[in-house]
């Protein structure tokens, strides 16, 4: 087993009488990209804040970079780079001024040199005097990442770093993250994008402050044990019927296709196959996607309810 960068047990945080994070156990190994997934308000941000010493846990213990998160938060902060969900550098400072400020906060030696280097890496040397507020979402994100890397941290905590960033910039961002881990940096990243989740070495899915599943993407899929059948060209009425079939737990529309998922493969295959053949619709079994798996997890957490109707799920899928 390789060296653990983050190892926490029973991490708990309450705001008032609401338990936001409830007995979280987590282990992240050096050089990994660890994906942190879960619905909005599931406690991802709170967990990250506890790891970097912004919040004091109400219960639990753990070590981050070999230091105690309860007593050595100040020292942990020196070796952690934290990128917040919202752009949280100064829009009324220029790019170079923001970087210089960040470097001074961390007490980086040779500030001017480090900042020049970072600007070169970013490809922003020519626009160094531009105000950060005038940058697009993708550039702001790059700037924020550069600022959190100035002090050469050993651990990067990224809280939904790619929200509101275009696909091209997202892809480049992830290339960059992979390069960083090659260099030995450990990354904990929370995200809502499943393509990003697939790029992580390990995933943790939390819901209502509790860790539900943990492992590699494949392990997570195996754990959920979901089967998916894709049916092509079904009309709205047919989709309704498909969703109501025995064994179908989820029905999500993707363009002209509908993805039907269920945990009992045999029962679902039987009922869907018969109906599709009868209606002369093309169908095939595919591997369940992480997205299907997570929606399944979210649904089973909420329990069987009106959410399970096909139309609601189709709406939710489109809404995203």
């Amino acid at each position: 087993m390789s060296e653990a960068v983050i190892e926490v047990r029973g991490l708990t945080k309450r705001f008032g009488d609401k338990t936001v994070v409830d007995g979280l156990d987590m282990r992240v190994e050096k050089g990994q990209i660890y994906g942190f997934l879960g619905p909005n308000g599931s406690g991802k941000t709170t967990s990250i804040r506890m790891l970097c010493g912004l919040l004091t846990p109400d219960a639990g213990q753990g070590r981050c970079l070999g230091m105690d998160i309860l007593t050595q938060a100040q020292r942990i902060k020196r070796r952690v780079g934290y990128m917040t969900q919202r752009f949280s550098w100064y829009e009324d400072l220029s790019i170079a001024e923001n970087l210089r400020f960040a470097a001074r906060l961390y007490g980086v030696p040779n500030v001017a040199q480090r900042v020049d280097q970072a600007l070169d890496d970013l490809g922003l040397s020519a626009r160094r005097q531009q105000l950060a507020g005038s940058l697009s979402g993708g550039w702001k994100q790059r700037l924020a990442l550069a600022a959190s890397l100035l002090h050469s941290p050993d651990l990067l905590l990224l809280d939904e770093p790619t929200a509101g960033v275009d696909p091209q910039a997202r892809r480049e961002f992830w290339e960059h993250i992979h390069d960083l881990t090659e260099a030995g940096i450990t990354v904990l990243v929370s995200t809502h994008y499943m393509d990003e989740a697939e790029r992580c070495h390990r995933l943790a899915y939390i819901s209502a402050g509790r860790l539900l599943v943990e492992g590699t993407p494949q392990q997570v899929l195996d754990h959920v044990g979901l089967q998916t059948i894709v049916v092509e060209g079904a009309s709205a009425a047919q989709r309704q019927s498909l969703a109501a079939l025995e064994g179908v737990e989820q029905a999500v529309v993707f363009g002209t296709a509908v993805h039907l998922s269920g945990s009992n493969a045999e029962r679902m295959g039987h009922s869907v196959g018969r109906y599709a053949d009868q209606q002369r619709l093309r169908w095939q079994r595919v591997q369940a996607s992480l997205e299907d798996a997570f929606i399944h997890l979210m649904q089973s957490q909420r329990g069987a309810g009106p959410n399970r109707s096909a139309s609601t799920q189709a709406g939710a899928a489109r809404g995203r």
């Binding site: 010493g53 912004l54 100040q74 902060k77 934290y82 917040t84 906060l105």
Partner: protein
Amino acid sequence: MVYKEFIQMRRDRLTFAMMVGIPLLQLTLFGYAINTDPRQLPTAALISDDSPFARRFLAALQTSDYFQLGDRLDNAAQADRVLALGQAQFVVQIPSGFERELLRGERPQLLILADATDPSATGSALAALAELPNRLLAEQMRGPLAAYAPQAPPFDLVIQRRYNPEGLTEHNIVPGLMGVILTMTMIMMTAVAVTRERERGTMENLLATPVRPLEVMLGKILPYVGVAYVQVTLVVLAAMWLFAVPVRGSLALLYAAVGIFVLANLAVGVFFSTLARNQLQAMQMTFFFFLPSLLLSGFMFPFRGMPNWAQAIGELLPLTHFLRIVRGIMLKGNQAAEIFAHLPPLLVFTALALALGVLRFRRTLD
């Protein structure tokens, strides 16, 4: 649209409270607290001629309702001191042998020393005083003495308006304005600046760095100390060149006192920033603090004209004490020893506000 606006108004509890609270505050302050005709002003007496006349005169002062006789003083140095400290608004000085000279028709002088820093505080009392000799004599000079009853009073009532002999209101207003400007800008600037960091999420970023919360707070407020000194310098220069307000005391002493006062206001600002959820709320809180400061500190209206409860509130406000200090230094030429007498309440306020600000500032992180 209107309906939506009302819904939002109701959601923002603080704004709603302010919208109701500010008019109520104004009504209370303007309606009950303010009185431009102050009575019962503390008056000390330096009596060297303990004659029936002197006693009659003091009694007449007392009954005029404008003067509240207090301490008997022993010498002129004490008289200077009570005026310099602002303990007494007036000192009545009856020289020795006053009655004897009066009866001889030698027109003795009866001296009234007034702390005229704020002309509006002493104005009506002095006007009442001018009426006094005639009334007094009319009842005194009866019977066998009626022959002496003169057209003009047989003594000279000399009124010495100290510190502001010409009764120029700007001499009172301009130094006071320094405190008002500092209160307004310091509280608002820090409250808004700190709230802005929180609102924009940059505070979270700062606190995730190795910088300590106290350092963040100090770093946020220190620049404003510089701003404060620029403002003070501007007011002092304007006072001297534009308004010809004298600066009788030491500027170094003034700048030192400004330091404490600024700290008090910055601490209030930080405290407000921990309560406010957005910049608008921070502004409203500033205003809620500023309004009583303006009205109850003795800046706009004479402090001694207010009812006791209003004076009690005024005594809690840092501006009240700073006004006494700044007027003391600029107009009265107060020295360090006299200024120290005004410091304890200001220091207590500063310490409390700082402690509260720091505690709340730390707590809001969690």
